[in-house]
Every structure is written in structure tokens, then in C-alpha cells.
Symmetry: C3
Subunit: 366 residues, 3 copies
């Protein structure tokens, strides 16, 4: 084992106590960035520490929570919220978004789907001899006999000394029948990146508020206030991208000295949702940068809008994302410049001031 | 460690098999009274043994049941009943009482709430050097992101050689938003204290039957029949109390030689519910003495009656209860005298013969 | 221990990873036939291997699945399908069959009931000194306080060197109140017995299709096609039997060299359901031979048809089944002859070509 290899380490432990009893924590460390992966929670990433600074957010939920304690099938469709505290969690695979009900009020699709509360069947760890990169792969099956059988094969990669990580996800329809899927990456950041005066920078093509509450804040959609007892604001957007489809978004701290960016491919994930939850610190002061195959409206509505992904039997869709943390003003400015380059020679962002009927949440309480 | 300290012991074990797989049993022993605490079941008390005699009751449910096996979110709202077998279990914190539904028949609040099926995050054990008392404290979080975050900090205390135990509970609103709570102590006794001819003695101010079935037995509301295939009878009452609010209720065995009393503060727990379930021994022959912040009607109804507790952000409410077992006629008579003293110079109990509209269960099947 | 005893072995292990984490696998081996029993899944039988050949089927569900991961109370009533992959699983005890709802669309009885996702409280193993037979007994309680308390006492027996196994089940009403029960044996076979050209042979008295989809295939109800993307076909039947009530059904491979038969008593299990699910191999190519107390329609409908079993307090019903694997054409012909003997001197089978109102599924989507 050479020096490069030894720079990346992997170890697992089993957590004990409360609702985290039995949760496996898989720790990946590249010498600078430490991540805790949660194979039982759909290969989500619980938290990250860069040079010892904790990234992620402080959810009121004392997680990580074992899926057996998450009442996903609560008739309200909101039980998912009892397990939500990750830096990165996936919403899908059959559906994501607000709960969806039939005309009798019976739950069809719970909030954000099942994938974040399904355990990986197995996990594999590989070191690249040349680069020293470490990859962890896990398979999560979202399967109900006579219904869907979708497999998420998720690979997380870290490289020695880098301040970020990469995700390569493959979703395969293992059924002999056609299927549809949805996937949204709920990437959540709180302090120290988030704070009063922090901003989100993104190559917006068009952006609209999800509902009346979001419309109230449309003039400041990209700026963050200090924590306060306030309700969430959600914006739906499309993005400019490079010719190959790559695009990105950045959360920048108020002083410009810290940033977190997410990079993805618009052809894989055409919809970008910005979740501003500048609630009290006790209730979770957090923002979500959320690339997705769709907007997080009830699935039935999104399907009507054509925002599900069709998969023929055996078909695989890939999703490639990079997550980078930027430390120091120069580093942050570099990310800002990259986004400005995406905007250049493009029309200015169209910021719509009211919810768009074709995009907004169906049955949203406003 | 002196002699007094050594009189109280604490040990834990993990139960195996069936639906009790993985349940932690925390045994507290003061030399005379042995209790089994269930940290995973909201710090409930499974059973007690006084001088080797088992107290509690024989539920048909072969518990203690791990919360993962309790279908709390069954659309009927009655899944809680698959885990119910404790001597003392709490009902709350967001709600307790009969299941509550919206106008589409969709479950809003399941029977008796979540707290009895939520695990304590951590448990601490303290010995008092002077008194030899042993205290066990556990924190249980009832939290759903964007919804409530209530924390129960429960402390059980036993003193060397005493035939009882004390509970000090603190419920704190950890959210930055106002909250409401409900809490009811479901204290359940079967044989040997309960039996044909046993009676309940309490300083009743006013008592009414919950429904028609309870009204049938109003003339004998305080007396118990032998086990038989019969349905439960529930009575709602208010109590006289000392000037400081302390009050109590007693279950007395038929021969007067055995008793179990519960002592609480009326200003903390103004509502007293008596649950007479003189069903067959196989189905659970048991009575519940239940001090609560409210009566166990659906939460919506109780809220309309003003029977929820409001908590501003950060606010804590305390609940102090003592539980005593009385062995021998003299000891039991002492408890009876204490209750008579509470009644003295008070008006006689108002026993209402029919269900009171303002108090009875909404949608109760009669 | 003599040679006969040593021919049968029993050992248990705990499975790890994914949704099988913590599942106990109890392996029974008679020297020729190896079975894996699942005490936590209601004493179901996961798979069998005869002379090293795997019997059972390949479900898309990567089981065996721990009950904590099966959302039995999903408002759709179909959560059971996330745990279904056994060779033999019981459907009951309070209900089986299609989900049943009240007039508000609220789930009353989930698909196939709870018994297959309830853990046995304890398991006992006995060797018969004379025959060398090995019996494994487990008790599974289906209990909800104030509702049903039914106990399944299930005994599996294997004899040294035999190509089959026996089940003796006792269901007891442990309540002091009358109860009703339902029980269906979902016995599921895939390749190598099942395949294009395989057939089912049974002493049919009368058979009818469950719905329009099944009616389409009525002329070939007893023949199997190759795997294809097709929907299930279900047939309901009554059987001829010996004077003592014993009857049987056989699945015969296309070449006649392999068979699997199930033997039961018509007075215990009067209803026979044939489930033909010749779906793709990826989705589960499987057929079910299903003796039951009823047909797997919603419970309310079956109760109206008188197809529930009444149990007075303390009453026990027994169910005795034998399962045999037949290797070699002679062996298979023997089983066919036994069925022909049951038909002899009986009227020919009445094959009804359309769904029978009195038998078909209520609310079935056709």
C-alpha cells in the first residue's frame, strides 16, 4: 500500500441508543475531508467535516435515525420528517415531493419516497492504485412485488486531500415491465456556510416561487436572513449549462470566505429546487440546493407535467454529481466566476414573481 | 459506598425472542421493591415486584414489545394496542386519547400518542450519597421536522426499603415556535390488588360516565366485579386536593389488606380518568388510575375544551407523581384516611348519571 | 444418539445486511431435504433444497425480509408485498386475501393479514427416538389488546431421508370472547418444477376464474406458459377428497420428471386457490397452490359468504398438510395416479367459464 492509498481510509461502526440503535455509520476519510455514509438510509451522507469543521446542519431530529423508527406510511404522508437530518439524502425512486393522495384522501406516495429509508443490500469499497481514490458502492433495492423494482447503485468517491466528493448513481429498472422514476438530491447546508447575508449563486434561466409564501420573498430569493421563527420558502428553477450539460450552484457565506457548491448535469437532472428554511436554530436553520429529475410536487402532478423518467426493462439512468467545499475568498471567487461563465452570452435570468400554474404544488396550503 | 447506597441497585439486560427482541430492560431494586423500566418504550415501567409479589397486570400482549413491532400508524389509529402491557405507561406528548381523524377519515392522532413507543436517547443513573436514593433519568424526544419537538426528561427515584417510587417528569418545548402538549399517566393494576369486591377511593369533586356503557354502571363506579366477558367502563372526574394541589387515589383490595395509590398535583394534572376493564383474565383484567392534563378523548375535541397545555418556546412543564403500595390493613387504612382528609369540609361528590356533552368522547361508539 | 437421530439436524443463524438484518434462519436437514424456516416471519419456510436442487422461487424481493421493514399498515394495504419471497407462507389469522377498506377508503384488513410478519415467541426442537423424525414448533401470537388474540402453534416435521415435510398447525382463540379466523397456505413454486408446459393436476370438483383476466385463460387453466410480461390469473376451486377428507394437488414439470405436491384435509381447508403468475423471471415467475379456509377475497366479502372459521373461547382448530417433492417420472406418475383415484367414480370437473358472483373478488380491478 503506497502513500496515496493510505491517505484514504474507510471504517464502519454500529451506533447505539435511542432511534439510532443499530445504524451503521461508514466513515470515509481522505485526509482532509471526513464523511459519514449511512448505508441503511439509502447510502445518504450524514455529515461531513472539512479540516475539522462540521458541514451539514443541525436538525431537531436526533439522528441518524434507523428506518424502523421512521413511520413512512403514516396516513399523513409526512412520517419521513421524523428521520430527516442528513447533509445529503436522496428523494425517490418511485416518487419524491409532497405527499400524494387519491380522491378518498388515501396516501398514494409519501413525502419524498422510500429510498432514504431503505438499507443497502451490500456495500463494497475499492481503492484506485494510481490515484489513491477511494470508492464506496452500495445497492439499494426499492421493490414491491407486482409493483416497481428499481435499484439504486450508488458510488461515492473521494480523492486524497480534496475538499469535495463525487457521486455516481445508477438507477436500473430490474423489472420486465416499463417503469417510471423520480430522483432529487436533497443537499442541505446550515452554518457555518449559511448565515445572515449568505447568498446562493446559480446560472438561473428561469425561477418562480412555489407558492404565495415564497412569492413574498421573491426580491430576495437568493439572499438569506438570520434564523427566525418563519416558514420555508421554495423556488423552482431551470439553469443555464455548458454545452455538455454541466451546471452548478453555490452557497456563499456572508463574508465570502466559505462556500459549498454542487455540480451536476442538466440533461440528467433538469429541475433545480431551492429550499430556504431560515427557521430558528432549534427547528433547523438550513437551505437545500436540490437538483432533480422533477420539482418536489406531488407525483401525480409531476407526471402530468411529464416530469418522470421512463425506463424500459433493464434500462439504467446515470446521475453524476460533484460536491465541493470552498475555503478562503479566492477559492470562493473561483466558484463564482465559473457560474458567471455559465451565464455569459445568455439572456438574463427570468425571475417570475408569482407561482406558475404549470409548476406549482398541487394542493399546496399556500 | 455505604450501606444505604448498596441497598439500591441498577442493572440492564437486553431481551430476546419474539416481539421483545432487542428490548432493553433496566432493573431498579431498592431491596424491597423491584421495577423494570423500559427506556425504549418511553421510560415506561413494565412491572413491579414488592417483597416478591408481582404488581401490574397480565395483558394478553406478550410484552414488553419493541416499538418496531407496534403499528402506531395503522390507519385505524389503534395499533398502539399491540404493544400495551405496562404497569405505567405515558400517553402523549402531542396527543393522547382515542384516535382522531380528519373529515376524510384519515388518521390525525393515533390512540394515546407516540411517547410510549419512542426510545430514550440516553439514560443516566445517580445515587444520592446521603439518602441512598437511586434516580434514573432518560430523555425521550418526540420530534418531527417542521412539526413538534417536545422532550420528555423523565426521572424515576426509589429510596432504600420503601414500598413505592417517585416520578419527576419534565416536558420541554425545544422548538422556537409555540407548542401544545398532552400527557396522561396510564397506571394499570390487576390482581392481586384488583379483584371482585375491590374498590377505588378518591376525593371526587365531580364524576361522570364517558358513555352509555359506563353510565350503566354508575351506581357501582367505585366497585369492581370479578373477571367476565364484558366491555370497559370509563369515568371522567375532577378531584379535591390539598391547598398546594396534591391529591391522590387508591385502589383497595376486597379484603382491605392490599392497596396501591397514586399521588399527584391537581394543578399539573387536573383531569382524572378511571378505566375499569373487568374483562376476562385472558383478555386483561385491569383497572387504570389515570391522572392527566386532559381526558382521553380525541385531541381535537379536548383542544376545543381547552384541555391542552400551551408551551412557549423553551418552556418546561413538570409533573410529579408518587406511587405507593400498601401492605396490611393498617397501611391501607392510612391511605384511606388521607383521602378522607382531602374530602373533609368539602361538598359531597357530584356523581353525574349520564355522559356530559362537554366531556364525553366525540364519535365514541357508545 | 442413534443413526436415525443423527440423520436430522437443526441449526440457526442470524442473517446480516440490507432488509434481512437480524432475521433468524433455522435450518432443518434430514440428510436429503434441507429447509430454512423463518421463525420471525410467522414460521414460514423460506426455501427448500432437495438433493441440492433449490425449490421455491426467485422473488424480486431480496429476502428474507425482517418484519420491521414490511409496511403492513401502508394505507394501500399492499405493503405485505415488500416482504414476500417464501416457498411457504401463511396468510391470516384474522384475515387474508385482498385488502379490505371501510366506506371512507380506510384500511380495515391489509393484504394477507399479519401472521407472516409476526415473530414466533419461542421455538422448540424435538427428535423422535424411534423414527428419527425432527419436529420444530413455534408459537406466534396475533394479538391486539381489546381485539383478537389468536395463537398459531406451528409444527414442522421432517423424517430422515424423505423428500418432503409435514406441517401440523393449531390455531387457538386465547381470548375469553368468541373469535373468527382465516388461514391460507401460500405455497409457491418456480423453476425447475414450473416452466413452459408444466401443469397442475388436482381432483377438481368445480373451478371458476377470479376475474375477467383469469377467464381469458380458462381453457388452459391447468397449463403454464413460459415467463412473459403478463398479469396474474387466479382460479377458485373445490376439490374431491377421500372419505376422510384428504385431498391433494400436484405441480408437474413439462417433462414429467419432477413434481411437487401438497396434501391436506378438505374438512379443514375447503377452498383451493390456484395462483398463476407466469410473469417474467425478473418479476417472479411462480405459481401458488393455496389450500385455505376461504378464498383470498376481502375479508368482509368472505365473511358474508360464510367463509370465516368461528372459534369459541379457548377453541383450537388444527390444520394438517404434507408437502412432497417427486423426482423421476415413476415417482411423479404415482402422484398423478393418486389424484386420478380421487376423481374416480366422481362427476367430471365443472369448469365455469366466467367469474362467479358469489365467489369473485369484491372491488377487484378486473
Amino acid at each position: 500500500m503506497d502513500a496515496k492509498q493510505s491517505a484514504c481510509t474507510f471504517k464502519t461502526s454500529i451506533l447505539r441508543g435511542g432511534r439510532r440503535e443499530g445504524v451503521e455509520a461508514a466513515e470515509v476519510d481522505n485526509g482532509r475531508l471526513r464523511l459519514v455514509l449511512l448505508p441503511q438510509r439509502g447510502m445518504g451522507i450524514w455529515k461531513a467535516w472539512l479540516d475539522g469543521v462540521e458541514l451539514g446542519w443541525r436538525s431537531p431530529v436526533p439522528g441518524p435515525v434507523h428506518p424502523a423508527f421512521v413511520p413512512l406510511d403514516d396516513p399523513s404522508g409526512l412520517g419521513w420528517l421524523e428521520g430527516f437530518d442528513e447533509l445529503l439524502c436522496r428523494c425517490g425512486l418511485q416518487s419524491n415531493g409532497a405527499p400524494d393522495f387519491d380522491d378518498k384522501g388515501r396516501l398514494l406516495y409519501p413525502l419524498h419516497g422510500r429510498i432514504a429509508n431503505l438499507p443497502a443490500e451490500e456495500m463494497q469499497c475499492r481503492w484506485d492504485d494510481h490515484t489513491g481514490a477511494l470508492s464506496v458502492t452500495g445497492d439499494v433495492h426499492e421493490v414491491r412485488f407486482h409493483h416497481q423494482h428499481l435499484r439504486l447503485r450508488s458510488t461515492l468517491t473521494v480523492r486524497p486531500g480534496e475538499g469535495g466528493f463525487a457521486i455516481h448513481d445508477e438507477v436500473t429498472n430490474l423489472s420486465g415491465w416499463p417503469a417510471t422514476m423520480q430522483l432529487l438530491y436533497h443537499y442541505n447546508l446550515g452554518p457555518p456556510v449559511l448565515g445572515a447575508g449568505a447568498s446562493v449563486i446559480a446560472p438561473i434561466m428561469e425561477l418562480s416561487p412555489r407558492n404565495r409564501r415564497a412569492a413574498e420573498g421573491i426580491d430576495r430569493w437568493d439572499l438569506y436572513d438570520a434564523p427566525a421563527a418563519t416558514t420555508e420558502q421554495v423556488y423552482f428553477a431551470s439553469m443555464h449549462a455548458q454545452p455538455d450539460g454541466r451546471t452548478m450552484a453555490l452557497l456563499k457565506s456572508a463574508d465570502g470566505a466559505l462556500g459549498a457548491s454542487v455540480h451536476w448535469n442538466r440533461s440528467q437532472l433538469p429541475c433545480f429546487t431551492l429550499w430556504k428554511n431560515t427557521n430558528t436554530l432549534d427547528d433547523g436553520y438550513v437551505t437545500g440546493l436540490e437538483p432533480g429529475t422533477n420539482f418536489p410536487n406531488p407525483r401525480t402532478f409531476e407526471a402530468e407535467c411529464g416530469r418522470t423518467v421512463a425506463l424500459v426493462p433493464g434500462e439504467t439512468r446515470s446521475f453524476d454529481l460533484d460536491f465541493a467545499f470552498h475555503v478562503g475568498a479566492d477559492n470562493v471567487r473561483g466558484a463564482v466566476s465559473a457560474i458567471e461563465a455559465l451565464r455569459k452570452s445568455s439572456e438574463p435570468a427570468r425571475i417570475l414573481r408569482s407561482p406558475q400554474v404549470g409548476r406549482r404544488s398541487v394542493g399546496d396550503p399556500d
